[in-house]
């Protein structure tokens, strides 16, 4: 005959709700730590590529043309910045969230332009008929034109950033610029993962401290 005990807390596979929550915190901590290390590894390879491309550019352009002496020391704002918000995921998280704003003012305009172009294409789908090849080419060229228009301000910002090294720069220098841009994106992910890891660590630590006090 089974006796049902209504006083014990609800069990899930023999574990209390409290234990399930603790396990979830530990798992979150381990996951964020794993992601942090993976992102660092990815950053290392991206930076290595960037350094190699920079060294190649220095070799082709000459050391005097790729030099810190040429850096712009006049007053100017950063073209790439961060948006910092408070993560509202949990009430007491106190965790910052970072968002990268690359080539700041130009990228905001570009995203709006790109969205507008794609929504127009969806509203007016092209029917297939005789001469569809020409139509396809026209559509492709108009899409390319739109993407070029979107990319132009960003390209202008990129060229402006490289202008301190001269008007004509090595393709390797442009490639290095793109590599370091990619590294920046990874760094922002690392910053977010870091704050997630520390938040999960604090949760686990609090539980451990609470357990010690109980004993």
């Amino acid at each position: 005959m089974e006796v049902v005990d209504h006083e014990t807390p609800s069990l899930e596979n023999g574990k209390t709700d409290k234990e399930v929550e603790e396990n979830a915190n530990v798992l979150q901590f381990m996951d964020s730590m794993d992601a942090y290390l993976t992102l660092i590894h990815s950053l290392s390879s991206t930076l290595r590529r960037g350094w190699l491309e920079l060294a190649s550019a220095r070799h082709s352009m000459g050391a005097s043309r790729v030099n810190t002496v040429l850096l712009d020391h006049t007053s100017h704002p950063a073209a790439t910045s961060l948006l910092v918000t408070q993560d509202e995921g949990k009430v007491d998280s106190g965790k910052p969230h970072f968002t990268l704003c690359k080539w700041a003012s130009s990228s905001n305009e570009n995203s709006l332009l790109g969205e507008k172009q794609s929504s127009q294409d969806k509203l007016h789908p092209q029917l297939r008929h005789r001469g569809s090849t020409e139509l396809y080419e026209e559509k492709t060229s108009s899409e390319n034109k739109a993407s070029r228009e979107v990319d132009d301000p960003v390209q202008k910002e990129r060229s402006k950033s490289l202008s301190m090294f001269g008007t004509l720069v090595s393709p390797k220098l442009r490639a290095a610029q793109l590599s370091f841009e990619a590294a920046l994106e990874t760094l922002v992910e690392i910053a977010n993962m870091r704050s997630e890891m520390l938040c999960a660590f604090d949760q686990v630590n609090m539980k451990l401290a609470g357990r010690k006090d109980e004993k």
Binding site: Y36, T68, T74, T80, L83, A104, S195, K212
Partner: protein
Amino acid sequence: MANRVQIPTSNSALIAMIADEDTVVGFLMAGVGNVDLRRKTNYLIVDSIKQIEDTFKEFTTREDIAVVLISQYVANMIRFLVDSYNKPVPAILEIPSKDHPYDPAHDSVLSRVKYLFSAESVASGRR
């Protein structure tokens, strides 16, 4: 709720750098360089330890900086300062450099959390 840390939010915060020449030049090409009206920059190409200490203290107290990138070998020179820093913003990220690959054993964030994996912490939890 009473102990919730208030995060200083910003919509145009800077990324500061304390690193070697190639790393700084690379990130400047990516557009993170900022020079204010007083000709103060958000980057330092490492030279002397004293300068690194002063710059680290400056960057971590500026309100317009959200992330500080520091080469790990540079962070090792001022390890006591980096490890004692515990604010959420600006976030300190240790990055590899050309001649010094990243070592997770020296990362200040991982050092802070590694004690969870030590035998002592496991044993104390079981008592």
